[in-house]
């Protein structure tokens, strides 16, 4: 009954011929994930996805921080769409949840206030000489992976199962707020019960953890993080989520939003520093994965190829559970075997004296 | 006879008990006196060689021996106390004279006086004076009557005008039992002596005669020594228990009377003088009956007698200290004149009393007063809930053309008495300082208030030299007397309720009555003036709940309504609220009655 409600709402997703728009945060913090997305679609599934070098940031961070005006972002978005049409595509997919929200919001605004669309066309024409063509469909890249989850499952090298116990891994999924909280119809399962990540986890053999603060925001909230005076509030939200999920002993967290993945991962370090509290069954933190990393592991990709060395919380314990064979020494070797440097050990990856489970029990 | 040692083994209990008593009492008094604050010691030095000392001696005679004040409460009760105290005293005095009469001016140890009959069975003695025998018997009889009454009081207290008697502690019971036995034992011992050796007065002699006739003489001899042992033991036990029992009051009242005559008083802070007052309580229980908490609510652990008892034995709970209306009805009747309210207050002052830095900082710079004039009007917090009073006062001021400065028309700062009543004396000082400053700043010469609670604190705790403080009833009375305010007959009959703080608190009884009499007929309720009942809404009590307050108000209102008056009048906003709640018709304030009948 509960499960049904989480997958009740479905949306139409195109099956092929995608125009790919990248994410600012992910290119910097999880570059391997975007690479993996393209590889999975191209190499594993044989799907046409175009990664256009001409496209730019959607400027959503600037927009949500009140530095980019509405007219500007509309014009930038119109340009992306124009590029898509010029390249011969009509299914627009975005790697970023913020951008995904922006695209939906602007399309809806144009719908409600046609004069803004007219104005934007004019601006676009005057600035770039390009012509706005609205996409036939808009989807987030997690929607795409969700859409092809069964195909991936068929090609799976391993499932989300603890190889030592045979038990399914317990996975916390976290959906970015702008995925469906702005427009419930834009997300799979709607805003209250988004199914996009849960569907992948279930298809690949994992077990979804349902915990009290499941729907709560990670705390990024743009200005909440960008202004230092507000950061206490930002971290408090992640803290609340981690406190709430900890008793369920999740094996890892998977998120579909660049900011959430980053903050749920990195705030674990800050909380360890501030409070001495570390999460995870052995006090070594809860690894936070992108859905591409999760899919990549399932398909047998090398974790360092997936860029998992970029994580704050070490992923090795998870890899061991999954039975992934990896080269411990190769973790900090970049392209061509070049040593990229190794960060110092930090609180989150050491066993803490005050572990959450001991406090709760 | 010259070799008389005046010693027999049976006197040992008496001697031990007596010495113990004197040592303990002396130690107590000395300690309390030494610990007195410097101010009090200076008072004592200053007043020692004055008429006050002589007056104290006279008061000791009247109160410690004759118990005149208890006589006033109830003659039978007074007689009981008098016969015990004064009778015993005379027994000692006359006994001493008797010794002197027989032996001349020679030193006789104490037990020689007390057990004179034993050492000198007087029959056949040279110069035997029969008058002494009769006199001593008469005094013994007097004391025995007192003892009989005390027994009777235990059984049936109502006869003594007391519906309830005190519940006592263990030491009291020991001392009380010993006391009850002392005089009957003496009667038995002396009668036996008379039976064996002859002599004795009309009482012991006669009983002795009868005993001689009906009891075999060897039996008499057998009982003789034990009887004297028993008498001595009863005295010894009583003396030993006395400093720890309520009977401590017998002697403590004496220094208390002197100290009081020398103007030493209890204060808001506890001091060693309080011990004199606390231990001067005889636990007679006269304070129980006037207490409305007892009468109306059946609460019987908090009355002054229990409060003093608990405080004396260091078992005072906050609940007992706080559960008091401080109406002053018991204090009015206390035969020892103990300052019950002040002692109660300084017991409450145990609260962490240091106001933290910044407490009431918000008062700084606040001045919400309005108008200007020589006369200041402080309505009081409660008066803002009885706007009729405020309005009437304004009409009265207008009628006599008074220029008035209104201190708290737009809301003021509390006078501080409620805080004092709750034991927060230091915090209250901040209110006092604020208001004093406010009054001074506006250069008023006369301060009129409508709230008796404020009135009392203004008079007792504020230093308002140069500013006269009046309750509005006094002020109106003065206006009428000066011919500035003319009133017409109202045609209604009134019953006046004396607010505790105005009546017993400030001694204002006549002014309100004169004012009411000038507009209509005044009918007195059953309890009025000093004896007036409390409305139950008193700020002093933070323990009783709303329903209990209501019950107190209901009974006192019923009494007021029993006069069949048209209107109940009072002069306190709190009383007004309490009465209006319980009465068929709302009460009116004197100011309202007056304002309705002004002749312009």
């Amino acid at each position: 009954m509960r499960r049904a409600s989480w997958q009740e709402y479905q949306k139409d997703i195109a099956s092929d011929k995608y125009y790919y728009a990248r994410s600012c945060i992910r290119q910097n913090f999880f570059p391997g994930s975007e690479r993996a997305f393209l590889d999975i679609l191209h190499n594993d599934l044989g799907i046409d996805v175009f990664d256009d070098p001409l496209h730019t940031s959607c400027t959503g961070i600037g927009y949500h921080s009140d530095v980019v005006p509405l007219e500007t972002i509309m014009t930038v978005v119109a340009r992306q769409f124009a590029l898509m049409a010029e390249a011969g595509y009509e299914n627009f997919i975005s790697s970023c949840i913020t951008s995904f929200g922006i695209y939906n919001e602007i399309l809806a605004t144009w719908e409600e206030f046609p004069e803004t669309e007219e104005r934007t066309r004019r601006y676009l024409r005057e600035a770039t000489g390009r012509e706005l063509v609205k996409p036939r469909s808009i989807a987030h890249t997690s929607d795409i992976i969700f859409h092809h989850r069964e195909a991936i499952a068929r090609r799976a090298k391993r499932r989300l199962v603890n190889v030592h116990t045979g038990e399914p891994l317990r996975v916390v999924e976290h959906i970015g707020c702008h995925y469906a909280k702005i427009f419930p119809k834009s997300g799979i399962g709607g805003s209250e019960f988004p199914y996009v990540l849960a569907g992948m986890i279930e298809s690949w053999g994992g077990e979804v953890v349902d915990y009290p603060e499941r729907r709560h925001c990670c705390g990024f909230g743009f200005r909440n993080y960008l202004v230092q005076a507000n950061r206490g509030s930002s971290i408090a939200n992640s803290h609340k989520k981690l406190e709430s999920m900890a008793p369920y002993k999740p094996d890892f967290i998977v998120a579909n939003c660049p900011g959430c993945t980053m903050f749920l991962d990195k705030w674990q370090y800050a909380i360890a520093e501030m409070e001495g509290t570390t999460y995870g069954a052995d006090g070594r933190g809860i690894p936070v994965l992108t859905y591409e990393e999760m899919a990549g592991l399932v398909l047998g990709y090398d974790p360092w190829e997936l860029g998992m060395q970029m994580h704050q919380v070490d992923v090795e314990p998870l890899l061991d559970k999954l039975g992934v064979e990896y080269d411990r020494e190769a973790k900090y070797l970049g392209a061509g075997g070049k040593y990229i440097g190794k960060p110092a050990d930090v609180a989150v990856n050491c066993e803490s004296e005050r572990r959450i489970y001991e406090i709760k029990r | 006879m010259e070799n008389m040692t005046f010693f027999a083994p049976f006197t040992i209990p008496f001697i031990v008990g007596g010495v113990a008593m004197f040592v303990v009492i002396a130690a107590k008094w000395l300690l309390w006196l030494v610990r007195l604050p410097r101010v009090d010691r200076r008072l004592i030095r200053h007043n020692f060689f004055t008429r006050q000392t002589l007056l104290a001696v006279w008061e000791v005679f009247r109160e410690s021996l004759l118990h005149v004040r208890i006589f006033r409460v109830n003659p039978v009760l007074g007689f009981m106390h008098m016969s015990l105290a004064f009778g015993w005293f005379l027994l000692i005095v006359v006994g001493w004279i008797e010794t002197v009469a027989y032996l001349g001016w020679v030193w006789v140890p104490l037990q020689g006086h007390v057990f004179f009959k034993y050492f000198m069975p007087v029959n056949g003695i040279e110069g035997h004076i029969q008058l002494f025998e009769h006199l001593m018997d008469a005094l013994l009889l007097l004391v025995l009557m007192g003892v009989a009454l005390a027994w009777f009081k235990r059984l049936r207290s109502k006869m003594m005008g007391m519906r309830r008697t005190t519940k006592h502690v263990l030491f009291d019971r020991i001392a009380l039992s010993a006391l009850w036995f002392i005089f009957p034992a003496r009667l038995v011992a002396e009668s036996l002596t008379a039976a064996i050796y002859g002599g004795g007065g009309f009482l012991t002699g006669s009983i002795g005669g009868v005993l001689r006739d009906i009891v075999p003489s060897d039996m008499l001899s057998l009982a003789y020594e034990p009887a004297w042992w028993f008498y001595s033991a009863a005295l010894g036990v009583f003396f030993a228990a006395m400093p720890f029992s309520r009977y401590m009051h017998i002697l403590t009242e004496i220094p208390l009377i002197f100290l009081r005559r020398w103007s030493v008083r209890p204060t808001a802070e506890r001091k060693s003088y309080d011990r004199f007052e606390v231990e001067a309580c005889s636990r007679c229980g006269i304070c129980i009956d006037p207490c409305q908490l007892q009468e109306d609510l059946g609460i019987n652990d908090t009355q002054s007698v229990y409060f003093l008892r608990d405080r004396r034995y260091n078992m005072l709970s906050l609940k007992v200290a706080n559960n008091c209306l401080m109406c002053g009805r018991c204090e009015q009747q206390c035969p020892v004149g103990i300052n019950l309210a002040t002692l109660r207050l300084n017991s409450r002052a145990k609260r962490r009393n240091i106001p933290h830095e910044g407490r009431y900082k918000y008062l700084r710079g606040v001045d919400r007063s309005s108008g200007s004039g020589r006369v200041g009007y402080f309505a009081g917090c409660m008066t803002s809930l009885t706007p009729g009073v405020q309005r009437s006062m304004e009409q009265i001021f207008a009628a006599v053309g008074e220029e008035v400065w209104y201190a708290d028309k737009e809301g003021g700062v509390c006078c501080g008495r409620p805080l004092m009543l709750s034991g927060e004396t230091d915090a209250a000082r901040k209110m006092v300082a604020y208001n004093t400053d406010l009054f001074r700043r506006h250069n008023i010469e006369l301060l009129v208030t409508s709230c008796p609670i404020c009135l009392r604190v203004f008079r007792e705790n504020y230093r308002l030299d140069g500013i006269e403080v009046l309750h509005h009833t006094e002020y109106i009375d003065r206006l009428i007397a000066e011919g500035r305010l003319h009133l017409k007959a109202d045609g209604r009959t009134f019953t006046y309720h004396d607010p505790c703080e105005l009546g017993r608190g400030c001694g204002v009884y006549d002014e309100p009555r004169r004012v009411i009499a000038s507009v209509g007929e005044l009918r007195e309720p059953k309890h009025s003036r000093r004896d007036a009942l409390c409305c139950g809404a008193s700020l002093a009590n933070t323990i009783i709940d709303d329903g209990q307050q209501q019950r107190i108000a209901k009974r006192m209102t019923t009494e007021l309504e029993a006069t069949a008056c048209d209107t109940i009048v009072t002069a306190c906003p709190l009383c007004n609220k309490a009465i209006s709640r319980a009465a068929a018709h709302p009460a009116e304030d004197i100011a309202e009655v007056v304002a309705k009948n002004i002749v312009r």
Binding site: Q228, A229, R231, G232, S233, I235, A236, H239, K240, A270, I271, E273, M274, E275, G276, V346, A347 | L318, N322, K350, R351, R352, P355, H356, R359, Y360, Y362, L363, V366, C381, M382, S384, L385, G411, G412, V413, C414, G416, P418, L419, S422, E424, A427, M431, A537, L539, T542, I543, I544, D545, D546, G547, L574, K577
Partner: protein, 111 residues
């Protein structure tokens, strides 16, 4: 390592957390004065409050917070009360408000 200064900390949550709040004192207070539970939050006490008209002192909010186990600052706040007793006169539920002030203060600090 713990001495790192981030320039901010984890903000404490604003929610009244009845799971974590220590309700022992609150229960004590209610046991001694059960009528407190009869409060219907009409605000008469606060409206008539002598101190509350000069400061931000809000008796209704305060005793409600204390009942919920939110004691932080309650004692200091209560020190603003002048104990004048107007609130007791206007309370439609007959709550012994003055006694309550003293009770809460006693439980939260005095003695």
């Amino acid at each position: 390592m713990r001495n790192l200064n981030f320039g901010y900390g984890i903000s404490s949550p604003r929610a009244i957390n009845l799971d974590n709040n220590d309700l022992r004192k609150s229960n004590d207070i209610i046991r001694e004065m059960p009528e407190l539970q009869a409060c219907i939050g009409c605000g008469s006490c606060t409206a008539s409050c002598t101190a509350g008209n000069i400061t931000s002192f809000n008796f209704r909010k305060l005793h409600t917070s204390v009942r919920r186990g939110e004691y932080q600052g309650a004692y200091e706040e209560l020190s603003k009360c002048m104990l004048c007793g107007k609130c007791r006169l206007v309370c439609p539920r007959g709550i012994n408000t003055r006694g309550l002030v003293m009770l809460i203060k006693r439980k939260l600090g005095d003695f």
